[in-house]
């Protein structure tokens, strides 16, 4: 790949790759992943596997691979998940009863925190698939390219992941039943089909 082609590849995809990496492992490690991905892409361009299809799919595959180096960081972030702070003017201040709002927020935050903790316990490949689809909005084909999972197996595996998260949360809820009871008792509900 010549200089201008490399620069073009970078300009077109750096934002997507950085967003994917930074969401999973934070901004600092995200930059490191981006560096690794593009340096590797440059070196390996001539040997690029045919099955990687689009440039984005190829880069996501490498990013997913390099993110494995930061699995510890990712799992720590997931286990200590904190709701994002919204400081921009786009956040409309709530005017409902503060006590009620606080309770709702607390409950929702606790639920999400327990889901994230369960996600941290998933196999790395399952996390890859989950985040590519849930956070990056990847299609089944793009997620398949990025993870190496056959496309026909993406949706079934996502279903398995959902059940696995529930199973882990259920196991936890038996020890500490309060905060995420709603989600656990929801297991097997028809709403599952919305994302399957």
């Amino acid at each position: 790949m010549n200089g201008p082609a490399a620069a073009r590849l970078y300009d077109e995809h750096v934002d997507a790759i950085y967003a994917y990496a930074a969401r999973r492992v934070g901004p600092q490690a995200g930059v490191e992943v981006v560096e690794n991905v593009f340096e590797h892409a440059l070196r390996q361009h001539a040997q690029r596997p045919a099955h990687t299809g689009t440039d984005l799919g190829w880069l996501l595959a490498m990013a997913t691979a390099f993110l494995r180096r930061h699995s510890d960081t990712e799992c720590e972030l997931l286990r200590n998940w904190q709701p994002p702070t919204r400081s921009t003017s786009r956040a409309i201040p709530r005017v409902t009863d503060p006590l009620l709002a606080q309770t709702n927020d607390d409950h929702s935050t606790a639920t999400t925190a327990h889901v994230m903790a369960a996600v941290a316990e998933l196999e790395p490949l399952e996390r890859d698939l989950l985040f590519l689809i849930a956070w990056e909005g990847c299609s089944s084909s793009l997620a398949a390219i990025a993870t190496g999972v056959p496309q026909s197996e993406v949706r079934p595996r996502l279903n398995t992941i959902r059940k696995e998260i529930r199973r882990r949360m259920s196991a936890r809820s038996s020890q500490n039943p309060d905060p995420f009871r709603d989600v656990v008792t929801e297991a097997g509900a028809p709403t599952d089909e919305a994302t399957s």
Binding site: A7, Y10, R23, P27, E39, M62, V115, W135, L158
Partner: protein
Amino acid sequence: MNPVQIVEAARPEVGTMPPIDRRHLRERIFDAAIREQSKISPVDLASPKTRASNAARLAALTLLGVAAVSGLAYSASRETPGSRATAKPATSVAPSPTLELTVNTLAQAPLPTTATTTTVPPIPGSVDAPLLLPPERNRLDELTVVRARLGSSALLLRAPDLSTISLVEVDGLAPAEQPGPDPSASSTTTTVPPRQYAAVSVVPPGEDAPGQYNVEVECGSVKVLDTSGRPPFRPEVEALFNSIRITNGLVNIALPDGWAAISGGRSVDEFVFGLPVEIDNQQVTIMVAQYPNGSLAVAGNDQRQYEPTTFNGQLAWISRDPEDPAAFTLLTTVGTTAIRVSTRDISLAETEKVLNGLTPGDVNEWTNRFGAIPVTPDPDIRSCADQPEFNII
């Protein structure tokens, strides 16, 4: 909500990559891509040496040998011009996204040539390489490109008292009609009327822009920039105003005795970067502004006071801040490019070394390394014919 939906709802919002990281990495990638082009990739010999792979290699070599011998025999027996077998490109494997995606390719040796090749290093400041670029992949502190101002030009003059005065003219609209005073409106602000000189009227400096005079013209604007803090309408400035005649937009300046024109020229694109360097274990940033095919007048179109000095063996102009003696701004030229260097805590000799260590390049290389230069943001708003233009008599 099921767990996947909860995960989806918890999607963190991340901004874009920090600009300095993004730019730095882009430079490194571009540099690496250039290096890749200039070398032949080594053949990877690190594939596993298993019995199966050795057997496969042996079989492949045998096949290649048989094919080569057959091919030679066939070629010797029958020449078929124009019909050449094309080898299939090396195949790629590695379906999983692991980091060890190395596949061997056969490096194609370059064809032998008897042609003589010459490499002429680019000349700094030449038409082909008007810019100086950092040779290494430094993290630049600042990186901007400012497009040339439409129909603008500058002059840098030196008065008999050795002070420097800058002039700048910009094309533009005709001045708006001044409305008459509104008797019903009461205001405490006072407007200082323009001063009349031999042939021009001059609007005095405002409180927010000391030392900046506006010469009244039919179209656009003409500014005279004296150092702020000097007495307004000092004798040298008044002598300059008295020497100006404007005819159909042409600003004729008959320089009085003792005056000299240091430089003059049209506005050109400005390329700026801040280069961090280490001098005596201390980090110093050198701001380098470059004006390809530009003039010192454009590079030094400000209110600083410049004195002559020698830089790289040629006449240059330097301005030192009385309140910060370690800082200086230097105007110099490299070939056809005017350069303004602003830095502090570094000697002129060290600055020479740094500048001489920069790599000549062109706008394409700048664009490839740092990204596209901005399109000109100013639309052509010239609505009248007599646009200003300097003319030294």
